[in-house]
């Protein structure tokens, strides 16, 4: 079952929580991915890798203007054409013009989050260009007409049965539950497209400024096909992808793969610097690089440059207890689900109402922060975002009223003391013999709809402290040992 990603936040979450099949599949897969990741990062000096990765990314973001110009100069020297786009629409316009003037009929594409972000496929299809997704997971989703639900394992919400049925219907595959037979069927079909497409499109994992090199990570080899077989190759790169030196990209590549899939190295790391030379047998004749802002400068302006350090490994999703329960689609119409998505989605959308609830969809447990290979302090950013949203009066008035009440009470010890006393009395109104309220009256029942509320204690903490002072005295001065 796929949930409606356009539905309002709360109904999306409810829908996701009631879909026990998907919940189990996602939870199992995330558990497995998290375990693989843990093995891979524990095998090395992870802390050093994280510190150095963080330094590289922070340095790059702080020096973006200079690095982007250096990248542009070197890409151009290598024979690439560099384009700049402020928005997704501008990037799509550039791509459409390239496609139209080269009379492109079919484009093959390797997995890329930025192209999801700017809805590139729909835009190219408008001018009659057929876009074929070539990552196996993305290809399955394209056949099913569904969006990805995880940035590394896009089709993780689907079971083998669903995928098999889809491939039987779409490709005429014989019934099977064997993934290798399903892969074969897809290989055969996609190979035709690889050999006949006239344009290849990919995203960019890292862009090396000093050499003018675009790096993409894949395991299947589709990235290498897309950047090698068609005569025209177009790279869509977010402006934050730039790194200064080759060794930076080599370090981040290993950090990304260890964290994304638990491999020491991805199967393919394709480093493209330009079009083929006349004496080369293969490679694209033209390479275009479209550098896209699409609200990245805005993320910096709002003071969340930390979030741009992300290398899209998906580790924060794999370890997130919320993501593991609800899966990626519950995060709504966004290319980036999970903890990092909860920060990027509201910041990158002009309409702040899109994704405004996401920063609250977190328990702030900090698992994402501990996992992040570039040490993004995700809980801190989520808290800051909540604060900003409340200041901009985007959160609900009732919620803001409650928080104001709490602040008023907490500001004076006398008020706080009285409030805790009153809270203790509420026990008396409950007929339940347990230690929790399972149903609160009136509007408060929203809280108890999905979880029980612990009853306040009869005594306040200070009273308890006073009573047990004698015990603490003992603790303070332990009997001296002879």
């Amino acid at each position: 079952m796929t949930i409606n990603i356009d539905a309002p936040y709360k109904s999306r979450i409810r829908e996701a929580l009631s879909d026990s099949g998907t919940r189990k599949a996602v939870d199992r897969a995330m558990g497995e991915l998290a375990q693989r990741r843990e093995r891979a990062v524990n095998a090395i000096d992870n802390e050093t890798m994280r510190t150095e990765s963080h330094e590289i990314r922070e340095h790059a973001i702080r020096n973006l203007p200079g690095l982007l110009v250096e990248l542009e100069t070197n890409l151009t020297r290598n024979g690439c054409e560099v384009h700049w786009a402020r928005t997704g629409n501008e990037a799509n316009d550039i791509l459409k013009t390239i496609a139209r003037t080269r009379k492109i009929k079919t484009a093959i594409k390797s997995k890329s989050m930025v192209t999801e972000e700017i809805h590139l496929n729909t835009s190219l299809e408008e001018i009659g260009v057929k876009v074929v997704e070539t990552d196996l997971g993305e290809y399955i989703l394209q056949l099913a007409d569904e969006p990805p639900s995880h940035i590394v394992a896009p089709v993780i919400h689907k079971g083998a049965e669903d995928i098999s049925e889809l491939l039987q219907n779409e490709l005429g595959m014989e019934p099977t539950l064997d993934p290798s037979i399903m892969c074969d069927a897809a290989r055969k079909e996609l190979r035709k497209h690889f050999l006949s497409a006239d344009m290849g499109i990919s995203g960019c994992n890292f862009a090396i400024a000093e050499t003018g090199t675009i790096c993409i990570i894949t395991n299947e080899g589709n990235g290498r096909m897309v950047s090698s077989l068609p005569p025209v190759y177009v790279v869509i790169a977010g402006i934050e992808k730039v790194v200064p030196r080759v060794e930076d990209a080599i370090l981040l590549w290993q950090a990304a793969t260890r964290n994304a899939t638990g491999q020491d190295a991805s199967v393919y790391f394709s480093m493209t610097s330009g079009p083929k030379k006349p004496n080369h047998a293969d490679g694209p004749k033209e390479v275009h690089v479209i550098l896209v802002d699409n609200a990245r400068t805005n993320v910096i302006k709002k003071g969340y440059a930390d979030a741009l350090m992300c290398i899209r490994c998906g580790a924060c999703m794999d370890v997130c207890p919320v993501y593991r329960e609800i899966g990626g689609h519950a995060y709504g119409k966004t290319a980036y689900p999970g903890p990092i998505g909860s920060i990027l989605t509201p910041l990158m959308n002009e309409n702040i109402n899109i994704g405004k609830d996401l920063p609250f969809a977190s328990s702030l447990c900090g698992a994402c922060k501990d996992a992040c290979p570039v040490k993004i302090d995700l809980p801190k950013l989520l808290l800051e975002l909540r604060n900003d949203l409340s200041k901009e009066k985007i959160t609900s008035p009732f919620q803001r009223f409650l928080v104001k009440c709490f602040a008023w009470i907490s500001k004076k010890p006398s008020r706080y003391k009285k409030a805790t006393k009153i809270a203790g009395l509420t026990r008396k109104f409950s007929k339940e013999s347990t230690q929790v309220f399972s149903k609160l009256p009136g509007p408060l029942n929203r809280w108890t709809r999905s979880r029980a509320l612990q009853k306040p204690s009869n005594k306040t903490f200070k009273e308890t402290w006073k009573d047990s002072k004698a015990d603490f005295q003992v603790l303070k001065s332990p009997p001296s040992q002879k």
């Binding site: 090395i44 700049w84 013009t97 070539t134 090199t213 020491d264």
Partner: protein, 256 residues
Amino acid sequence: MRSIADIRRLSRTARQDILNTLEQNLSDPSDAFKTLRAKGTRRSRLTPITESTPRSPKNLSTIFGKQLDSISGSHHIVRQGETVAGAILERITQIQENEKNTSSTHRVLSWNLKMLDIAGMLDTLHKHHIELVVPHDLHDGTCRAEASSISIGITGVEAAMASTATVALSNGPGMNRVASLLPLHHILLIPQDRIYPNVEAWFGELKKENKIEQILCENSQLSLVTGPSKSADIELTLTLGVHGPRTVHAIIYKNS
């Protein structure tokens, strides 16, 4: 519909806008970052992720081979008395047997192997009816059709890294990309003295010798390849050869 001139104009304005906004936002006294850990410093030397102690070439061959086996590849170290051609023939026979192919001639998609300068290899392969197909232009329909019909590919390497069993494949005159990409089976010829402890060691050496430009830019693409093509998209089950080669076999030899 926009013309090429239109998008060039658009791109120029966008460039100026993006760079100006970035300059402005990043130079704002209230820091653009919420956490200030590194404050923009960076170190000139990075720590290699995997094992980097210098080892003997023989030792590195063994490590490379073992590592490749562990990621679903296979390897053969050519010993005294054996030849590279012999190892290639053995591998081709193996593949033929697995695929129940009984044809006596075999076409193999290949680099121009003359460059590898292995004494007697080409003659021996020729004698055993191995036809090496070196494509000249993949944008030519016939050439492309021929290349895509072949199921075995042979290439050399730019370098090999022992700790991860990664090979660096560049493209250039006589060195095509497709021989290591389109066929179902890939055979790698790796001279022992091209094996480095790890990927950082190789790039470190290139940098020291000022060869980065030559390797990365002049060749238009450098691919680091680690084992056979893989996917785990269907329920995280490992499947091999989803787009690229399903088998990768390394033949490691001592250069004369």
